[in-house]
């Protein structure tokens, strides 16, 4: 028995839209279904997307680190490191503080070129293996990490253990009043070249700097 709805329209037969009139590409029922689904999708996206962006926002937001006073120039020499406390995250009290190891730039020891930001060397105490707090041992002239045995030499370069790159540093500057200020963090590769800060565990030599890209949330100073 032939289908009495069969028409010659290429739309209704080829695309199998039951009940469509000749020339219609979409039936009313299908149009309503699609509209309802679209409206539902839009309504859901209207709260899902802003919420996701809200949760992911900190990835894209640059957090600036203000310059912080750590003492006068005569507190630091070239022979040893002086620990100073700075705030790396505000609003969390003690949990936001961190120690930096400070000394004066020494042309006999330091290999990197001198510029306006390294009259004083400020080493971060963050181990470059997985972020434990390292400690300077004056008798050994080395930095030692308590967690997994990372060892760094006097310049902060890896002497042994699992760390993948030298210790992070901070920009320093001297004010007109003879005070030393510590600025934002930067990471270094084994040649002590400056890079935007990377997390511990991210190597910076060779392909490492591309496998572990810098993040929008924290950058080194431009052109340094």
């Amino acid at each position: 028995m032939p289908d009495r709805h069969q028409t010659k329209s290429k739309y209704t037969t080829d695309r199998r839209i039951p009940g469509a009139f000749e020339g219609e590409t979409v039936s009313r029922r299908r149009f309503m279904t699609a509209s309802a689904h679209t409206a539902g999708g839009v309504a859901a996206m209207a709260f899902v997307l802003p919420s996701l962006a809200f949760a992911m926002g900190p990835i894209f937001e640059e957090q600036d680190q203000p310059w912080q006073d750590v003492g006068s120039t005569d507190e630091f020499d070239t022979e040893t490191y002086v620990p100073k406390t700075i705030t790396i995250a505000s609003g969390v009290g003690e949990a936001g503080k961190s120690t930096v190891y400070m000394r004066k730039y020494d042309p006999q020891v330091d290999v990197e070129p001198k510029d306006q930001y390294n009259d004083f060397i400020a080493l971060s105490t963050r181990c470059m293996h997985l972020g434990c707090p390292i400690r300077f041992v004056p008798a050994a002239g080395r930095f030692i990490c308590p967690c997994h045995g990372g060892v760094y030499n006097f310049r902060g370069e890896v002497d042994g253990g699992p760390p993948v790159r030298p210790l992070d540093r901070f920009y320093t500057r001297v004010t007109s009043g003879g005070r030393v200020e510590v600025g934002r963090r930067f990471s270094v590769n084994s040649e002590i070249e400056r890079f935007s800060p990377r997390d511990p565990g991210a190597p910076l030599d060779g392909i490492g700097q591309y496998l572990y890209p810098s993040r929008p949330s924290i950058r080194k100073l431009p052109n340094t």
């Binding site: 949760a55 992911m56 900190p58 990835i59 937001e61 957090q63 790396i88 995250a89 505000s90 609003g91 969390v92 009290g93 003690e94 949990a95 936001g96 997985l130 972020g131 434990c132 707090p133 967690c147 800060p197 990377r198 997390d199 511990p200 565990g201 991210a202 496998l211 572990y212 890209p213 810098s214 993040r215 949330s217 924290i218």
Partner: protein, 265 residues
């Protein structure tokens, strides 16, 4: 061998006839029983849940089913215990990185009635759950219960295992003592060692480049809202598939032979 068939739903009982005048009065126990039955009937008449309950509870299980088959339920009860104790811990806990978090945990442990006990159940229960989920996974693996048609349930189980790990990771920070703090620093940095996406992932976990003011509340929200919701939904799907597909016989059981012998005997 008779064909496997679920038990037929019971035929609804006819309404009891009204009592004859002068019949002995009901005892209170009979009244209470009747009240309970009629309450259940009232709900069932409006939801038809008894069919679902019968489908879930009265399943055929293969011969040889043994104590190893209880590991999944044990894991689920560990999860429920974590959920219940966690809800009550949340009544006293304050996710404040400036010292309030540590202080609130100290308060729970030292001041609150049974606080140390409930906190201890939550703390040790998390290890129990991890151990049980691995034993359950080993049972599934060694009994070959991951094979067709149960691959999807294995996949859901693996997702639940990963989520349990994520729960352990995010929960570890919450007491906010030295151990929590440095373990989380290390854990987040391990996340960061994933090439290309790692740095962004660790920024997401910390809510920024440094462990900051919102890191703790972020971990807290993930720990108590995001992951438990997903886990509860996945446990529901896991259980549905167990009931739908049935459990496997232990691998040492030969197909059919012992059954026939028993039938003859």
């Amino acid at each position: 061998m008779p064909k496997l068939k679920l038990p037929a739903p019971p035929i609804p009982l006819p309404k009891p006839l009204p009592k004859r005048p002068g019949a002995p009065r009901q005892t209170p126990v009979e009244t209470a029983t009747e009240a309970g039955i009629s309450a259940v009937d009232w709900v069932d008449e409006r939801t038809s849940l008894s069919g679902a309950a019968r489908w879930m509870m009265f399943r055929k299980v293969p011969r040889g089913t043994n104590w190893f088959y209880t590991l999944g339920s044990s894991t689920m009860f560990a999860f429920l215990s974590q959920a219940v104790t966690g809800v009550f811990l949340a009544m006293y806990y304050r996710p404040d990185a400036a010292g309030g978090a540590y202080e609130s945990i100290r308060y729970i442990n030292n001041e609150v009635f049974l606080g140390e006990f409930v906190h201890g159940m939550h703390k040790w229960g998390s290890s129990v759950m991890v151990i049980l989920i691995f034993l359950h996974m080993a049972r599934t693996f060694f009994f070959g219960a991951y094979k067709y048609p149960r691959e999807l349930n294995w996949g859901i189980g693996v997702a639940l295992l990963i989520l349990t790990m994520a729960m352990s990771f995010t929960g570890y920070l919450l007491p906010f003592d030295q151990r929590s703090y440095w373990a989380t620093i290390v854990g987040v940095n391990i996340n960061g060692t994933g090439p290309l996406v790692g740095p962004y992932l660790s920024d997401f976990l910390r809510a920024g480049p440094e462990f900051g003011a919102t890191t703790l509340s972020r971990f807290y929200a993930i720990h108590m809202l995001l992951i438990p919701g997903i886990m509860a939904a996945l446990i529901g799907a896991h259980l549905y598939l167990v009931a739908k597909l049935g459990t496997t016989a232990p691998p040492w059981l030969k197909p059919s032979d012992p059954v026939k012998k028993e039938e003859k005997a």
